[in-house]
């Protein structure tokens, strides 16, 4: 059967990324239907390709660090205040 030739183990191209996926078979018609309705990077398989890394530098790095320090400090304040309120 022609369809049989196209049926693949789902995640068969994932190599070491088959975690959590089990065998499921789709025919050529369904594969064609999927490809004609989804953009290539919408496929589940496409998400295995990582987005390129970007380094934070300059004012952006200072900003994210400042907000991190702000958050930690304010959390201490909030929990201290809430603890007093509950007591």
């Amino acid at each position: 059967m022609a369809d049989e030739q196209h049926r693949r183990h789902e995640g068969g191209h994932h190599g070491g990324h088959e975690r959590g996926r089990q065998a499921e078979y789709f025919g050529a018609a369904e594969a064609s239907f999927v490809l004609s309705n989804l953009e290539p990077d919408q496929l589940a398989l496409a998400k295995k390709v990582p987005v390129a890394r970007r380094q934070l530098r300059g004012w952006k790095l200072i900003l994210v660090w400042s907000l991190r320090v702000y958050l930690v400090f304010m959390m201490v304040v909030v929990f201290w205040q809430a603890w007093l309120a509950v007591r």
């Binding site: 309705n37 989804l38 990077d41 919408q42 496409a46 998400k47």
Partner: protein, 463 residues
């Protein structure tokens, strides 16, 4: 080309090399949804456009009505009871404007990259910043989930339902929404449930608000409240009731799961705007409903059942019952959306399958995280003697404090030319987003000042 397009090219190369195409169950379901959108897009006329809108709405309305959750509705109720009709009516509408600015960015980001928010932070900025974001999200989500079950318990308590039964009802609704294993069905079920959030509008009408005062408040922002710690706390609480980190993660992931593309961004905006409008109407409704309690009850340690009981003399038993039911609905819908947001984020970071289109056997970890988060929060609410008021007090404040760091990453991502080609933020949008960050940070600092140096707050108030 954007990173999404890059990955698409790599995928095409991969599939072409082996002359095979690999599709998953998730892809097939999503393709069926997209096929209907494509068919609807070809049509002309108002009816066809309305059908297309119906197909494309969902994440925006869900996120906005989902954020009108238990603690949020309690915060609005406390606002009405404590300050009556005045400054807070337009202020709450303004906070929804802020939410709209922020959430619109997640629609564009999700549609352009087809990646969830957690996934993008991890991959673009590395695991160091990714884990910080995940810790903020996980911690905030779990605290918020607990408060949803507190609201459900308190709301059903008005009808004499015991806490264990109330919690079981909520969990049953949450689990049954997942039974279809289909994003589209799940979305429609939760949208139907979320529509009940508007129950606060008829409740407000039953309270016979003074429309002249309401109009005056919207036009003049007066009467202004006194500038003290109570006011700052309510300001923070009302902001935390409309803009929180889970909303960013949820709407972006839901946009991806729904399969929206850059062609759908306009409808995504309408979806978010509709959601903001409906949620603002419900929030204003809650304030107006409890405004008659102004000066009659203390709203310091407020709980849903107390508000409902206090409203009986004002709007009758039926109106109070609707109010209590509104609290239950708010808690149930938010428990669904927030636990889903946690599950999406976990799946994205752990690189496990994460979609509501997955059958259970293919998405075990996704469904396990979703169900376990909800079940754990529900269980905590049933432990006798736990200081639940503590959680209610801090949850909205924590949300406001965690927002600026989350927003900065959103800002950086949505202005990233490499992944957002063609749909990166225009300058005016960046200005609005920056204003939201500054406002949220300033509100947090004011709160900190009110705790650490209450005298400083009084001094600022005299300026």
């Amino acid at each position: 080309m954007g990173a999404g397009a890059q990955s698409g090219r790599e995928l095409r190369a991969l599939t072409a090399a082996e002359d095979e195409v690999v599709v998953t169950h998730e892809d097939v379901d999503r393709a069926h949804d997209r096929a209907r959108v494509t068919a609807a897009r070809g049509g002309r006329g108002l009816r066809k456009r309305a059908w297309l809108l119906w197909l494309l709405i969902g994440p925006g309305i869900l996120v906005m009505l989902g954020e009108n959750d238990g603690p949020s509705m309690l915060s609005y109720a406390a606002t009405g009871a404590k300050f009556g009709v005045g400054f807070f009516l337009p202020f709450v509408v303004l906070t929804f404007g802020m939410a709209l600015v922020v959430q619109e960015m997640t629609v564009r980001l999700g549609a352009a990259t087809h990646r969830g928010h957690a996934e993008l932070i991890f991959e673009r900025f590395g695991p160091f910043w990714g884990w910080f974001s995940m810790i903020d999200l996980g911690f905030g989500n779990f605290l918020t989930l607990i408060t949803e079950f507190i609201a459900i318990r308190a709301g059903l308590g008005f009808f004499g339902v015991p806490p264990w039964a109330a919690v079981l009802v909520a969990l049953a609704v949450l689990f049954s929404a997942l039974l279809s294993h289909r994003y589209w069905t799940w979305e429609r079920v939760v949208l139907a449930a979320a529509a009940f959030n508007l129950i606060f509008v008829p409740v407000a009408l039953m309270a016979h608000p003074h429309w002249g005062a309401v109009g005056h408040a919207f036009l003049t922002w007066k009467p202004m409240p006194g500038f003290n710690r109570d006011t700052v706390l309510i300001v923070l609480s009302d902001i935390g009731a409309t803009v929180t980190p889970w909303m960013l993660f949820f709407q972006q992931s839901a946009t991806v799961d729904k399969g929206l593309t850059t062609k759908d961004i306009g409808f995504g905006r309408i979806d978010t705007l509709l959601g903001a409008g409906l949620a603002a109407a419900a929030a204003v409704g809650a304030i107006l409903a409890t405004a008659p309690l102004f000066g009659r009850m203390s709203a310091d340690n407020f709980e849903a059942a107390q508000f409902a009981q206090a409203l009986v003399p004002v709007i009758g038993r039926f109106g109070a019952a609707l109010f209590a039911l509104g609290m239950v609905e708010a808690g149930i819908v938010a428990s669904i959306t927030i636990s889903t947001s946690s599950a999406y984020a976990f799946g994205e970071v752990a690189q496990r399958p994460h979609s509501l289109n997955l059958p259970v056997n293919q998405g075990k970890s996704f469904y396990a995280v979703l169900c376990l988060c909800a079940a754990a929060a529900a269980g905590i609410v049933l432990i006798p003697g736990l200081p639940l008021v503590f959680v209610v007090l801090v949850v909205n404040v924590v949300a406001v404090l965690a927002m600026p760091p989350a927003l900065v990453f959103l800002y950086l991502l949505v202005n990233d030319k490499e992944i957002m080609e063609g749909v990166k933020s225009p300058a005016w949008m960046n200005t609005l987003a920056a204003a939201v960050v500054v406002l949220l940070t300033a509100a947090g600092i004011l709160y900190g000042l009110s705790v650490v140096a209450p005298g400083a707050l009084a001094w600022i108030g005299r300026l």
